[in-house]
Amino acid sequence: MSVYQDVIIAGFGGQGVMIMGSLLAVAAMESDLQVTYIPVYGPEMRGGTANCTVVISDEEVGSPIIKRPLSLMAMNRPSLEKFQPRVKDKGLVVFNSSLVDARLADNGRVEVYKVPANDIAADLGNIRMANMVALGAYVRVTGIVELKAVQHSLEKVIPQRYHHLLPLNSRALEAGTEGVSRCQKTGV
C-alpha cells in the first residue's frame, strides 16, 4: 500500500488534542484519503491524559484502534511517558518541548522531533494555539497531508463561535512547520 499512517495524539484535557485529531482527519478526507478518528472518552477526559487515534490510508481502514502506532504526538510529559514505548521501532515521535524534557525522548529506537509549541504559540499571542503549532510540525515531518489541506479544513472543525480565530490558527500551523527540529541523539 502506498499511503498509510497512524498516530496517537495525547496531552492533558484542555490542550486541544481532540481538535488536532479531527482536524488532521478532515484534512485527510479533503485529500481524498480514507480516515478514521476515535477519541478516548470517559473518566480519562477528566484530568490525566486525553488521547485520540487517527488512521489514514489510501485504502479501506481496518482497525480504528491501534496498540502500537507508527507515530505519536505528545503534548505533555505523561503522554510521552505513556505512549512512547508503544510506538513501533523506527516510528516517529513529535513532542512539545516547551513542556517535555528532551532527555526523555527515546531517540535512536524512534525518530524524534521536538517543537516548542507553547513558546511559539505564546509568541503568536495565544498560548492555546500550541496544539496547532504541534500539528503543523507533525504534518511537516510526516508529509501525510499538505499543510494547505489542514488550513482549509480549519473552518469545518473549529466551532463557528471561534471563527474569528481561524487566521491565527492558520498562522500557528505554519509556525509549527518552521519551528520543528530533529533531535540529533538521546539527551540532546
Binding site: S22, A25, V26, M29, Q34, V35, T36, Y37, I38, P39, Y41, G42, V61, G62, S63, P64, I65, I66, K67, R68, K156
Partner: protein, 352 residues
C-alpha cells in the same frame, strides 16, 4: 461525491432522517447520546417530533404507538436501557408493528461500563422479550455502514411490519469517519395505509393488539409470524474478505470484524492463508455462506467481544461439517489488531 466527517452516532441519526424517520423517542445513556442530541436539533425543524421520555420504557412504548400510526420512528439506547425496552419489542412483534431500535452497546452485565462490548448478541438475535418472535438485526462495522444500515432498517421494518435493531457498540458510536449521504427517501404515504390507525371515519374500525384469546387465533398468528421470518431470510447480508484461498476463516461482526481485518492483512504478509466472513445481518444469519465455505474444506474461528455468543450460530450453521473455535475478547478492554494475532495463528496451527 462530497463527504462529511461525522461520528457513528450522528451517522445513525442522519440515516434515520434520510430514511424518512419523523419521530424519535429516547432517554439519555452513554455511549449513544449523540443520537438524541442530533435528533433533538433537527426533528422539530422538519415537522417531526422529538421526545425525551421519562424512561426507556416510556420511549419504546411511544415507538410502538408511532408504529401503530404508520409513522417511521426510532428509539435508541445502550445495553441496560435496551433491556428495559424488551417488553415493548415483544408487543410490537406480536402486533406486527414496524419500528427501529438502535443499541450502541456497552460492557455488561448490569451497568457494566461505558466501553465497547458485544455482550448483547444473544439479547438482540435470540429475542430479549417473551414469546416466539424474532427481530431483524443489522450490525454496522463503519460509520458509512451505520448510516446505510439505519436507512435499510426502516425499509425492512415497514416491508416486514416488524421491529428491526441496529446493533453497534461504543466503537461504532464514537468513532468518526467520512460518509457520503444518499438522496433522502420520501416514504410512500400508502405504505401503511392498509393497517395503520388514523381514525376510522366511514370504514370499519381497526384494532392493533397482541392479545389473541379467540380459539386458534394465537396459533394462527404464530404461524403467520414464522412465515414472515421465513420470507425475511432473503435479507441475509455478509462480507467476505480474502476467503477464496483461506485455510482458516475468521467469523467476526461489527467493530471486531473490521479490527480483525487489520490482523488478517498483517498475517497475510507473513504467509498465513486466513480470511474473514463478517455477518452484516445477524438475524437472519448468513448460514448458507458459512455452509458453502465449510463445503470447500475451510476451518473456522469465531472472534467476538464477549466470551462466546455468535459462535453458537456459527456452529449451528456449520452443523458439524466443520469445527469452529472461539476467541472471546473481554469487555473493559479496547480490542486492537494485535490482540487477535496469537489466537488466529494458534487456530491455524491446530491441524486435525
Amino acid at each position: 461525491m462530497s463527504r462529511i466527517f461525522v461520528k457513528g452516532n450522528e451517522a445513525i441519526a442522519r440515516g434515520a432522517l434520510d430514511a424518512g424517520c419523523r419521530c424519535y423517542f429516547g432517554y439519555p445513556i452513554t455511549p449513544q447520546n449523540e443520537i438524541p442530541e442530533y435528533m433533538s436539533r433537527v426533528l422539530p425543524g422538519i415537522g417531526g417530533q422529538f421526545v425525551q421520555a421519562e424512561s426507556e420504557i416510556a420511549a419504546v412504548n411511544m415507538l410502538l404507538g408511532a408504529g401503530a400510526c404508520g409513522v417511521r420512528a426510532m428509539t435508541s439506547s445502550s445495553s441496560p436501557g435496551i433491556s428495559l425496552k424488551q417488553e415493548a419489542i415483544s408487543y410490537m412483534a406480536g402486533s406486527d408493528l414496524p419500528g427501529v431500535i438502535v443499541n450502541i452497546s456497552r460492557g455488561g452485565p448490569g451497568l457494566g461500563d461505558i466501553g465497547p462490548s458485544q455482550g448483547d448478541y444473544f439479547q438482540a438475535v435470540k429475542g430479549g422479550g417473551h414469546g416466539d418472535y424474532r427481530q431483524l438485526v443489522l450490525a454496522p462495522a463503519s460509520v458509512q455502514e451505520a448510516y446505510d444500515l439505519t436507512m435499510l432498517a426502516f425499509e425492512l421494518a415497514f416491508a416486514y411490519r416488524n421491529p428491526v435493531m441496529v446493533l453497534g457498540d461504543a466503537i461504532i458510536g464514537q468513532m468518526m469517519e467520512p460518509i457520503s449521504q444518499r438522496e433522502p427517501v420520501h416514504p410512500d404515504p400508502d405504505e401503511s395505509g392498509s393497517w395503520r390507525l388514523e381514525g376510522s371515519g366511514e370504514r370499519k374500525p381497526r384494532v392493533i393488539k397482541s392479545l389473541r384469546l379467540a380459539e386458534g387465533s394465537l396459533g394462527d398468528h404464530n404461524l403467520h409470524l414464522q412465515e414472515k421470518y421465513e420470507k425475511a431470510r432473503r435479507e441475509c447480508r455478509h462480507e467476505e474478505f480474502l476467503t477464496q484461498d483461506a485455510e482458516l476463516v475468521v467469523v467476526a461482526f461489527g467493530s471486531i470484524g473490521r479490527i480483525v481485518k487489520s490482523t488478517i492483512r498483517r498475517l497475510r504478509q507473513e504467509g498465513y492463508r486466513v480470511g474473514l466472513l463478517r455477518p452484516v445481518s445477524l438475524y437472519p444469519f448468513p448460514s448458507s455462506a458459512l455452509q458453502e465455505l465449510a463445503g470447500q474444506g475451510r476451518r473456522f474461528l469465531t472472534i467476538e467481544h464477549n466470551l462466546g455468543q455468535m459462535v453458537e450460530d456459527v456452529r449451528l450453521a456449520l452443523c458439524g461439517q466443520a469445527r469452529c473455535g472461539v476467541y472471546g475478547h473481554l469487555p473493559g478492554n479496547l480490542p486492537t489488531p494485535d490482540d487477535f494475532e496469537e489466537p488466529i495463528v494458534k487456530a491455524m496451527k491446530e491441524r486435525k
